[in-house]
Amino acid sequence: MVESALNGKENHIMPRHSAAMLEGDHSRLLDENEQLRTALESSLEENTRIVEDRDRLLRRITVLAREIQMMDAARTTPVTPPLRVHSSSDPEAILRQSQTEEELRVAFEELQVLAEELEVANGNLERANEELEARVLSRTRELATVNADLRRTELRLNTLIEGMPQLVWRAVDHGDWTWCGSQWTEFTGQSEEDSRHMGWLAAIHPDDRQAAIDAWGRAEADDGLSFEARIRQRAEGGYRHFQTRATPVRTPEGAIVEWLGTSTDIDAIIQLQEQQSVLVSELQHRTRNLMAVVQAVTRQTIRSSSSLEDFRRSIDARMGALARVQGLLSRRGAHKVTFDSLLREELSAHADVDDGGSGPQVSLIGPAGVPLESSLVQTFALALHELATNAVKYGALSTSGGHLTVQWDVLAPDEGKKRLHVDWRETGVADMPAHDAAPRGGGYGRELIERALPYQLGATTTYAFAGDGVHCTIDVDVPRDTARRGTYDVRTPT
């Protein structure tokens, strides 16, 4: 029964250890049956012996009884009970008869003993039989319990296997598949039958097939199979990366019976790794670019400095501006840095302004949240830094009567294209240089606005010394496809 219970489940996964347990039970039952059979056989032999003895005695008694009968008949005496013939006149006959009678008596006694033994032996046989029946009954019950347990175990295993996120399969040597779980057929769209033998290879990416075959070639020596390959996905038509592993199932002697394998979807991990390597590479690029910018700014500052002290002040301020914009860039994460945050950050480092960027000598008028192209942010920050520095040193913020107004808005000169227009106007500056005078402060701010911004992103800029202060305008494209799209349509004066 145990054997047939196993054989009947060929198409399901049957854990080998539970089958081994059953084999142990099976041999225990065989032992018990053998013991009972031996006991029964010896009881039967005993009975047979007793019955044979009894038959022998009965035959002997019959012979003796006949002899006595014949002796009685010879003396023509009426038939009398044999033990009452002592009065016979023939002493020899009398002696012979009495001997025969004695033998008969002994035979009867033996018969009596045998009958008793037979009764005992029959009783034993009956008990042995009863015990056998009881044991068969109890073993039948045990077997029923074991079978029920087996069915539950199998159900649990099947539930577990069906519920696994991995693609599950079984194979024999060198990747010859014998079975696959429903996960495989659902994921690949390949039928269970088609996956058998080497059929599964058809679902593997053509470029990865050789690696899979090679891995199977090494599997037995490695005592395990492991390889990565892309597997075709029915639903979306593409391929996903899978890690495939299998473990051999061995007989107690070590021979491989079959392989139990799983294929695990590692596509998300692979993609994350790729993203990570892109990010690391991007970080490298930005860091090195920043170093190059620092170097360029340093060289420019050296060229325009009149003394070491002058250089120290300028380079400190410019590095500070670069540091602030890096902070802004990293805080923004995936979002674009906005113009108003860049402006406020820069002005608050130089002038007496509140959190909104306005102050007694500073007015900011424009919508919040206008995004800037990331590649423009650093140069834009440096340009605003130079404008603010010059305003503090020579311009509107250097004199109590001066005022700085920064006004900006988003314009749409063409369909679907948006431009940020910035107007930086300083007023109330009495001591303005002539138009053709050498720029004060080395003219770095002017260079950044007039050359750097147009160079990088097609900005249109103007820079002029008006009657009572610097007037500068910047027009630059507003990037499309931004997470903050739409928020800058609302005008919010600050």
Partner: protein
């Protein structure tokens, strides 16, 4: 060391960051070169290169505002114009066909640009 080792050579500079491009331009001018550009993107570089019959060498940044410079590099290669890459990326970002192109890691020193260009130009002349 000669201050004018690139005297009279027409060198194209492609670099999207103004401050770096300007720095590179100054270094090449100091070495006596004539600088074409600098230009900040592939389109501007391509039209400038196409309009210049005589190009002696080029310094190419690899990532130009998100666009890769390799197509332009192919054009220069076809014209037998020697060039070097100036890049913030590691080697894995560069296609195998440019394996022999000298690459200068940013921040690039003016002296290393000269050192990288000189042997290429010598080869060209020989």
């Amino acid at each position: 060391m000669s201050e004018h080792r690139l005297e009279g050579l027409r060198i194209l500079v492609v670099e999207d960051e103004y401050l770096i491009a300007d720095d590179m331009r100054n270094a090449l001018l100091d070495a006596g070169a004539e600088v074409l550009g600098p230009v900040p993107n592939v389109a501007a570089a391509a039209s400038l290169a196409a309009a210049e019959p005589r190009l002696d060498a080029a310094v190419l940044d690899i990532n130009l505002g998100g666009a890769m410079v390799f197509e332009l590099a192919d054009t220069l290669k076809a014209r037998a114009v020697p060039f070097v890459f100036a890049t913030g990326y590691d080697d894995s970002a560069i296609p195998d066909r440019f394996a022999k192109v000298p690459r200068l890691e940013k921040p690039v020193k003016a002296r290393s640009v000269l050192a990288a260009l000189e042997p290429l130009l010598a080869q060209d002349i020989a």
